[in-house]
């Protein structure tokens, strides 16, 4: 039971906090300078390798990304499932802001910042939805696909005490 005190919310753990009923914030620390984290995020050849983890059970057909302020991106999974939007702000190596337009007017705006601290990089990603309803509805798609492979509530409860 003491395992939880070992620093569960430190190190490279992914933490998720719901800031408000329309904003979710994810944090994670990477053991590398910000320029490398930014590079892995902003070049399609690197991005495609981690954005669609195997456990998602999905295959990316194509990925176009023009990571510049005003640039566009489009991820295609086939069967007409596309994710696309525009980069509102790109400041290497510290900040990328983009829209998620596949959801129409319910689309979120994502802001990711890379803050270097002693050779490590704190990544903070915020997803801001236009309304509470839009955020609630965002559980469909990728999250549901992943959820299938992770099992149900009972398994989740099993992890609570670890």
């Amino acid at each position: 039971m003491d395992a939880g005190r070992r620093g569960e919310f430190e190190g490279n753990r992914t933490t998720v906090v719901k800031k408000s009923d329309r904003e979710v914030v994810v944090t994670r620390t990477f053991d590398a300078p910000a320029r490398l984290v930014f590079e892995a995020w902003s070049k399609a050849e690197h991005f495609t390798r981690w954005w669609v983890p195997k456990s998602l059970g999905m295959t990316l057909r194509s990925c176009e990304m023009d990571v510049r302020t005003g640039g566009k991106y489009r991820l295609s999974f086939g069967d007409g499932m596309d994710f696309f939007g525009r980069y509102l702000e790109v400041t290497p190596p510290s900040r990328i802001v983009w829209t998620n337009e596949e959801g129409g007017e319910n689309g979120s705006v994502t802001t990711v910042t890379f803050e270097e601290r002693g050779g490590k990089t704190l990544l903070v990603m915020s997803e801001l939805y236009p309304s509470k309803e839009a955020l609630d509805a965002a559980g469909t798609g990728a999250q549901d696909a992943l959820h299938e492979t992770f099992g149900q509530l009972d398994e989740f409860i099993g992890t609570l005490g670890q």
Binding site: M1, V16, D21, F30, V37, R49, P53, D154, F156, I157
Partner: protein, 121 residues
């Protein structure tokens, strides 16, 4: 999805931030238990356990019912499912992505090392 409020979320996550309370939830997932049983199990005073159960109850993660002198606790399954699951699914997605991102970054680091000091942009 079912309606919920920000304060519900905050209460839930404050409740889940404690290792004993997560242990209590895990225990109640297996079987209902009285406060006395939980206190024994976690080697705590009755008062201490009452406080933990109180926090879980406030967050809607646990419900209690007093029959005679015994207060029985059970999992507030619905609330957990609605609230914590949303975040947990979200976290799992990003956890999976970031683990892969770690590998990509590790390769970039090695490449940078072997390339020597690269020109800075």
């Amino acid at each position: 999805m079912v309606q919920y409020t920000e304060s519900h979320f905050n209460a839930s996550f404050a409740a889940l931030s404690d290792v004993t309370r997560r242990g209590v939830l895990e225990q109640l997932a297996r079987a209902d238990a009285s406060i006395t049983e939980l206190a024994d199990k976690f080697d705590m005073t009755l008062t201490g356990m009452k406080k933990h159960v109180g926090v879980l109850e406030q967050a809607g993660l646990v419900t209690t019912e007093k029959v005679g002198r015994v207060r029985t606790c059970r999992l507030g399954r619905c609330r957990l499912e609605e609230e914590a699951m949303w975040i947990e699914r979200y976290r799992q997605l990003w956890h999976a992505r970031f683990d892969e991102l770690d590998k990509v970054i590790e390769e970039l680091k090695l490449k940078e090392k072997s390339d020597g000091r690269r020109k800075k942009r």
